[in-house]
Symmetry: C2
Subunit: 394 residues, 2 copies
C-alpha cells in the first residue's frame, strides 16, 4: 500500500488504470482493489489488489502454505514459479508454532522468508473439518486440537487477534462452515451467525487499527436465497473483498458454478472476489469467467505428492509403467525447473523409490502449471482474448 | 579425460602442475590422477582426478546419492553447494530402477540430470549390510533383495557389468566386507578372496574396454599385516586409485587412523586414495593429513534429516527449545541458501512440523558445510597452511 504525503491527490499507478484515489486531511484512503481490464462478453476481469506487503495482480492463484511453508517448496521455488501471494492456515499456525512466535519474527511473510503478500484464513474451516468435540455458541467455538487434544476457543475477535499477530496482508472473517448437505433451517441460522461474526471481526479490526485487508465470507450452502441474503448483509457491513465459502465440498460442479454466478450479482463488483478452496483448472477458468479474482487450493501440491501431474494435454500419473523409459519432460510446453531438467523416466524412478526430491520436483511443476494457467487468464482478459483462452480448457 | 590428437605430446593443464603425459602411437595414456601440491609436514596433498566426465579437484567429499539422488537435494542444490562428484549405490540402482534403465538414459550422470562425475560402489557393502540369506563362494555372492526378497547374484564380473551400464566415472572393485570384530583367520581368507575378485574386476573391465576408472579396495580388518598384504597385492595388479574399505564400522577412531596411516605406506602414492564411508569432520581432516584424497559419507545428509546440523562452532540440534525464538542463521559464517535466508526459529518450526522443506534446507546446509570443509583443506594445502587449518577442527 503506497502512502503519499497527506493532502496530496494521487492516481493509481497501475498501467491502464486512471482511477483516482480519495484523500482526506489526515488519512489517505487507498483503494484496496482496482480493475484494470474487463472481458466484454463475460464478468471476467483483471485487477490489482493493493496490500501493505505489495501488489497482487489478479486473477491470482495462491499456493497453500498451511504451516508457513508450501509443502516441499522453498520461497525461491515459489518465486521462480511466479507466485505472488501465499496462503497460511490460522488454525495450524495458532497450534504450531503459535502466533506469538510468528509475531516475534515480524509476521508470517518474514518468518517464512517469503517477504511478499500473504493471506490467512480465519481458522474456521479447520475447526469445522479437523478439530474434535466442537461446540458453537454465539460467542465463538470451543474445540479440541487435532494434534494434542488441547481445549481451544476461537471467536471472531480471537481469530482477528491471531491473524493480526500473524501479520498477513489479507485476513478472513471467522465463519461457520456447514456441512453439505444441511437442512435449510440450519443453513439459515448459520449464515445469520456468520454475519454477526463478520461484523464483530470488522469492529475488532478497526479497534486494533490494523492495516491488513479484511474479507467477508459469503455462506448459505446451495440455497440461492440464503447466499443472496448473506452477500447482501456482508456488503452492507463493507469489506475489502468478498469470499465465497462452503463450496467444493461435494456438490456437483454445475451447482457450484450456479451458486458462484448468483453470488457475483450480489457482492460489490469493485471489490476483490475470492472463491475459497477451488479447484481444478476447469473450475478456476470457469470461475474467472464468472468474475472471481482469487483462488487457493491444495490440489496442485497434494496431487504432486501423489504423482498426479497437470499438463497442457491433460493429467498424467508419473507412477505408470509407460513412463519408465520416457525421455520426455512432464510437459514439453512447460518451462519450470523440473521440465527443463528431468525426464519422466527419472521422475518415475524417484517417485517409485520414495525420494523426497520427487515430491518437490512434482510440486514445482504443478504449482507452475496453476500459476501459469491463471497468469495466462489475466493476460487473455487484458488482450481481449479470454473466451478463446477458456475454450482451451474444455 | 582430455584426448589430444594421437602422437602429440601434452602436459597437464592444471595450474601449478608441470607433469607430462605419456603418449604412444595409437593410444594416449592420460594420467588418472595428478598431484598439484603437497604439505611439507604431512602426507596431505592436493590433486586432480581426471575422469571421462570431467575433472575432480581433491581432496574431495562426495555426497551420497544412493538411488540416483542425494536425499532431498536437486542437482542445482548440489551445484550451488559446490559438489563435484556424487556417489551412487550399485546395489540399490541394480534393484531399482535397474542398470538397463539407467543405461537407456545415457548413464547415471545424465539420468539424474547431474551431468558431472559420479562414482559407483561395487554393491558389495550393501550385500553385506542390507541383503538377506547371503552365501559367498569363489564365484561370487548370492543373496536376497532387502526390498522384495528376490534372489540375486553378484560376482566381480557382474558388478563391473552393472557399473559399466551405470556409466559412472569411477567404478569400485567387488570386495568382501567382513564384520568387525572378526577372527584373524577369517579376515585373512577374506582378503585373499577380495584380491582374486579385484583381479577379475580389472580383467573384465579391460575385456569390455571401459573408459571408466577402476579403484581397488584394501581390506584386512584392523590387522596391520593383513592390510599391508592386501595393499601390496592390489598395487601389484594396478588400479586407477586405491580405496580403504571396512573401516568406520565400530572400531575406535585411533585404531582407524592407525590403519589408514599404515595402509598409506603400502599403496602407490601417485594414485588417488579413497577412504570409504568416513566420516565426521575431524575424521576427514585427520585422514587428509594422512594422505587421503576422496571421501563419502551419509552423515551430513542423514544428520540433516534428524535435525543435527554442523557449524563452525560445533554441532547443534535444531529441535531444541532454545532455537524457538532465535533470529540467527544456523551458522553466521556460512553462505549457503539456508543460512542466507532462514532463521533457526523458522527452521525449528519446520522441523517440528515435519515439513519436507526442513529436511532439504538442513541438508543444503550440512552438505555445504562438508564441501566447504574439504575445499578449505585443499586451499590450505596449496597455500602451505594445512597444519593451521587442521588445528581449527580440534
Amino acid at each position: 500500500m503506497f502512502l503519499p504525503p497527506t493532502g496530496e491527490e494521487i492516481v493509481c499507478s497501475v498501467v491502464g488504470c486512471e482511477r483516482q484515489m480519495g484523500v482526506t486531511d489526515d488519512w489517505v484512503f487507498v483503494l484496496s482493489f482496482e480493475i484494470v481490464a474487463r472481458a466484454n462478453d463475460s464478468r471476467a476481469r483483471a485487477g490489482v489488489l493493493h496490500t501493505k506487503d505489495g501488489d497482487v495482480q489478479t486473477p491470482v492463484f495462491m499456493p497453500v502454505g498451511t504451516l508457513g511453508a508450501v509443502k516441499t517448496l522453498s520461497p525461491a521455488d515459489l518465486d521462480e514459479a511466479g507466485a505472488q501471494i501465499v496462503l497460511g492456515n490460522t488454525y495450524h499456525l495458532h497450534i504450531r508454532p503459535g502466533e506469538d512466535v510468528v509475531a516475534h519474527f515480524g509476521g508470517l511473510s518474514r518468518f517464512a522468508a517469503w517477504n511478499k503478500p500473504t493471506l490467512t484464513d480465519s481458522g474456521g474451516f479447520q475447526v469445522f473439518s479437523l478439530a474434535e468435540n466442537r461446540k458453537i455458541t454465539e460467542e465463538g467455538v470451543t474445540f479440541r486440537s487435532h494434534l494434542d487434544g488441547a481445549s481451544l476457543f476461537l471467536s471472531p475477535e480471537k481469530s482477528i487477534e491471531i491473524q493480526t499477530k500473524l501479520g498477513s496482508s489479507v485476513m478472513m472473517c471467522l465463519d461457520e462452515c456447514v456441512s453439505n448437505p444441511s437442512e435449510y433451517e440450519y443453513v439459515e441460522k448459520s449464515l445469520a451467525l456468520t454475519t454477526r461474526w463478520a461484523l464483530r471481526c470488522k469492529q475488532y479490526k478497526e479497534q486494533v487499527n490494523s492495516k491488513q485487508l479484511l474479507f467477508g465470507i459469503v455462506q448459505g450452502g446451495v440455497e440461492h436465497d440464503l447466499r443472496q441474503r448473506s452477500a447482501g448483509e456482508l456488503a452492507e457491513i463493507g469489506f475489502d473483498g468478498y469470499a465465497i465459502g462452503g463450496l467444493s465440498v461435494g456438490e456437483p460442479n454445475e451447482v457450484m458454478y450456479e451458486v458462484v454466478d448468483r453470488v457475483m450479482g450480489h457482492i460489490p463488483t469493485d471489490k476483490a472476489h475470492y472463491l475459497m478452496g477451488v479447484g481444478t483448472p476447469t473450475d478456476i477458468i470457469t470461475a474467472i469467467e464468472l468474475g472471481v479474482d482469487m483462488f487457493d487450493c491444495v490440489m496442485p501440491t497434494r496431487n504432486a505428492r501423489h504423482g498426479r501431474l497437470f499438463t497442457s494435454t491433460g493429467a498424467l500419473d508419473i507412477k505408470l509403467e509407460e513412463h519408465k523409459m520416457s525421455g520426455e519432460p512432464i510437459d514439453k510446453g512447460c518451462n519450470c525447473y523440473t521440465c527443463r531438467n528431468f525426464t519422466r523416466g527419472y521422475l518415475r524412478h524417484l517417485f517409485k523409490s520414495g525420494e523426497m526430491l520427487a515430491f518437490r520436483l512434482n510440486s514445482i511443476h504443478n504449482i507452475t502449471y496453476y500459476l501459469s494457467l491463471v497468469r495466462g487468464a489475466r493476460e487473455a482478459i487484458i488482450n481481449g482474448t479470454f473466451r478463446g483462452y477458456k475454450n482451451l480448457f474444455h
